[in-house]
Amino acid sequence: MFLGRINRGILICTFVISIGVMSLSCGSESTKKEFIGAGFTPEGINCSTPSINGVYMCKNERLSTDDVIAVDVVLSSAKPVFGIAFDVLFDPEGVSLSRNEDQSIDFSSTEERVWKHTFVSLQEDSYDRVLAGASLQRGDTSLTGNIQVITLKFRLSGRDSHLTFINNNLLDETGHPIDAAQYNWYGGVLGT
């Protein structure tokens, strides 16, 4: 009888522990799911310690969600910059641009409004090329240091995709290109 009580106790304890383990298991699964999904790996640069004189991409954790990966384009420049223009190539089989309800491209400009104008668009008749530009206005003081340019947002739809800068340049206030040879442009890989 005493042993029977012990056995019942063990069974109950085992059941309770099992429930507990299941609960823990479920909890860890649900927690894990929040972090499963799309990611972004910068190429050639450490986002926490970027080098000077370059344009690079880093994941914006705050604006990223389970479905959308937000990628900041950041400028680091010792020379004064008036405007920046570039294209970003991506693999349309792997990712797509995030869009707003009205089908416009979903992107963010800097919260501090350091740039006067920031435009983003797919190139006409193209599915793999985003055009972007950010500019000050005549009379503004050109920018130096680390400056966020724009935040692009992508949805993963298949395989991983490289994000590659092309056709890019930085211009000073006279409209002349800033020595491109002294600046590196770093892309990255979108993927799971």
Partner: protein
């Protein structure tokens, strides 16, 4: 009696054109005046068509070129008639709005 000097050709390629109006009176005295005329791309927005890669589309280079002459008026220093996308003689938000509308589009010449 005034005699207009011979003129020929109609520019079709986008760009800035200067043409001269020259008049000669009956006594042979002549006078001339230069005029600047801009032929805009179609659709408007291709302000910078000299940068390689930007010649045939509206992109960030055009945005920067327009922003560089922001606030200027026709005849003022730095005036760029190619940035006056609505041809009203001032570079302002109306022009940037047109450029934004056409951003990413290919242009025809």
């Amino acid at each position: 009696m005034l005699i207009l000097s011979q003129s020929s050709g109609i520019p079709a390629t986008p760009g800035i054109y200067t043409f001269t109006l020259k008049v000669i009176d009956a006594t042979g005295v002549s006078s001339s005046t230069d005029y600047v005329w801009a032929i805009l791309a179609n659709p408007p927005g291709n302000v910078d068509f000299t940068t390689t890669g930007s010649e045939y589309r509206v992109d960030g280079f055009d945005l920067i070129a327009l922003s560089m002459v922001w606030g200027t008026i026709n005849g003022s220093a730095g005036w760029n008639p190619l940035a006056d996308l609505n041809s009203d003689g001032i570079i302002n938000g109306a022009d940037i709005s047109i450029l934004q509308t056409n951003f990413g589009k290919s242009i025809t010449r």
